[in-house]
Amino acid sequence: MSTALPEKLAEIRDDFLALEQQDRLQLLLEFSRELPELPARYADHPDLLERVEECQSPVYIFVEIDDAGIVHLHATAPPEAPTTRGFASILVQGLAGLTVEQVLAVPSDYPLTIGLTEAVSPLRIRGMSGLLGRTQRQVREKSAA
């Protein structure tokens, strides 16, 4: 029996699955526009950011865990890489407010379940799987420290 998916991630998945293929691309585009700017304290410290090598485009992530044990994911990707920005934005929004345990419990195949494999291709979805995997690894390392 699998653990229930966090509410926001389930909502994002259901929103995509409710749409036709072409409209799923439009929704992904909306997500890409919503990716927040990197906080200024990281913009000046590229050394803190981890490159997501699975993505063809230069996307970088950084994970913070606050005193309450809540995970904060920051990501940056250039405007000419909207697909990658969309992937990052889905995770930033979907993981917002979750605890360390909740983030670590997100199934690694989540990116394959949100109905984008046909519109975007499974190969490209691997970039999002890389984003999620690296986020979870950073959370694991930082929560152990």
């Binding site: 691309l25 439009q26 992904l28 585009l29 890409s32 090598e53 699975e54 993505c55 063809q56 485009s57 230069p58 000419e80 890489a81 909207p82 697909t83 990658t84 969309g86 992937f87 046909e118 519109a119 975007v120 291709s121 190969l123 490209r124 979805i125 691997r126 970039g127 890389g130």
Partner: protein, 236 residues
Amino acid sequence: MAVAPDPNPAFSAFAHPERLVSTEWLAEHLGQPGLVVVESDEDVLLYETGHIEGAVKIDWHTDLNDPVERDYLDGEGFAKLLGGRGISRDDTIVIYGDKNNWWAAYALWVFTLFGHEDVRLLDGGRAKWEAEGRPYTTEVPVREPVEYPVVERDDAAVRAFKEDVLAHFGNPLVDVRSPEEYVGDRTTAPAYPEEERCARATSRAPGTCRGARPSPRTAPSSRRPSSTPSTATAPA
């Protein structure tokens, strides 16, 4: 050839100047009957953010590759794709895209394998079009489907196989990989994912074929041109 070639003198020294058009030429000829503009990008969403007016989107992965076999789509699939997008066999096609026309050139290659006679690249691709401040639209053109003939792919005319290369030694060869790969320091393009190249990379020592020259068009960590399905691996 539905539309006369771009007479740009900058292309005249090339073996096939008719295969290139400039941004100026395209801007002047947009909307001309018999001319179809196709955008083909690495990023599957880029077309949706804005594209050249009237351009049709063809994605290298979701449209041009077979979803199951590691190969291009077949003749029937190609006919269905182009006909469905309102492209006729005798249309002039101009293709452009992101990342220095990486996947635009891939699409041109696939169209050529299927014998589409007049298919050209936009010199400079999206990057040059944007740098010149030329406009984009998000309006997706509505094109009436047409009949495109089912043509069997013929690789023999434009594709060199191993035996061809062996017989060719001593004559010019162009290596379009990165300079790092050319000199043998790396077996994969810098700044790109290593995925799925391990088997190929370990099969021999890095380096180049005898007599190969690096392509002057390939800047370090810019692009990894791809001409066959065996290297077509590019997640977003």
